[in-house]
Amino acid sequence: MIQIHCPYCGETLPELEFAYAGEAHIERPLSPSEQSDEQWAEFLFLRENVKGPHFERWRHLHGCGRFFNAVRNTITDRFYITYKAGEPRPDLATLLEEDK
């Protein structure tokens, strides 16, 4: 079973307590009415579908209930880092270097 570190609880817990919540760092446009249909469709539906390190959201559903962000390798399921929602996107090259 995958163990996931919750940045709010400060504990590393089994994945069963968590729920996946899609790609991270997707910003809702501030004024949707000024978006073209293409731009809006891109915001709503188009995702990176990364093979490898992926920035994604998780929720500690059966725990503190918070959403947080993680970088997970979609091939190996390895979590490089988890960090609180609202924190800046960590530098991927540094993460991969630290993981070696």
Binding site: E11, L13, L16, H62, G63, C64, R66
Partner: protein
């Protein structure tokens, strides 16, 4: 109050050499969400809010567990709950927060006995040993979200939503009997 919705009456679910499971007496419950001046909340309810997730605080007739960064659950004796509600309601103008009385939402199982930890581990993915005595956690038990309080090494309380309670009682009963059968 919403207390009349509770489904299971206080009773012993199972009592074996391994563990004893019982449905507790009715107790008042409040779900509290707040940010900002937590000291003011502490003064109002008479017990300082713990801020580390999983830690608890206790005072006369009231028990608080921190479930999330801005979320607490309060167990209050029935004769004090209106007083606590009024004290929190008086804070609304100065400190907007969310206080919901959820007495009828949950029932509490007490689980104790030499193999209480083994009994819980049959349906909890997390390591029970990571919950220290005097702490509480919201976690998963047999597919349902529960709040697990550890009162002593082998004594726990589990707050369960009503709709899951009969199902979880059956799981606990089966587990306690199996563990007792291994002892025999």
């Amino acid at each position: 109050m919403s207390k009349h919705i509770s489904s299971l009456a206080p009773s012993v679910v199972v009592d074996t050499a391994a563990a004893r499971v019982a449905v507790s007496q009715l107790i008042g419950r409040i779900s509290l969400r707040a940010r900002g001046d937590l000291a003011a909340v502490g003064n109002a309810i008479g017990v300082a809010l713990p801020t580390k997730i999983g830690t608890c605080a206790k005072a006369d007739g009231i028990e608080v567990a921190c479930l999330g960064p801005d979320e607490w659950t309060l167990l209050v004796s029935l004769n004090q709950i209106e007083k606590v509600e009024d004290a929190l309601a008086a804070l609304y103008p100065s400190l907007p927060h969310s206080m919901t009385e959820v007495t009828g939402r949950e029932v509490t199982f007490t689980i104790e006995g030499p193999q209480a930890v083994d009994l819980l581990s049959i349906a909890t993915p997390r390591d029970i040993a990571s919950i220290k005595v005097g702490e509480a956690r919201r976690t998963l038990f047999d597919g349902a979200t529960v709040v697990l309080w550890r009162d002593a090494e082998t004594s726990f309380r589990m707050d369960v939503w009503n709709s899951f309670a009969p199902f979880l009682a059956t799981t606990l009963e089966t587990g306690a009997k199996e563990l007792a059968a291994e002892l025999a």
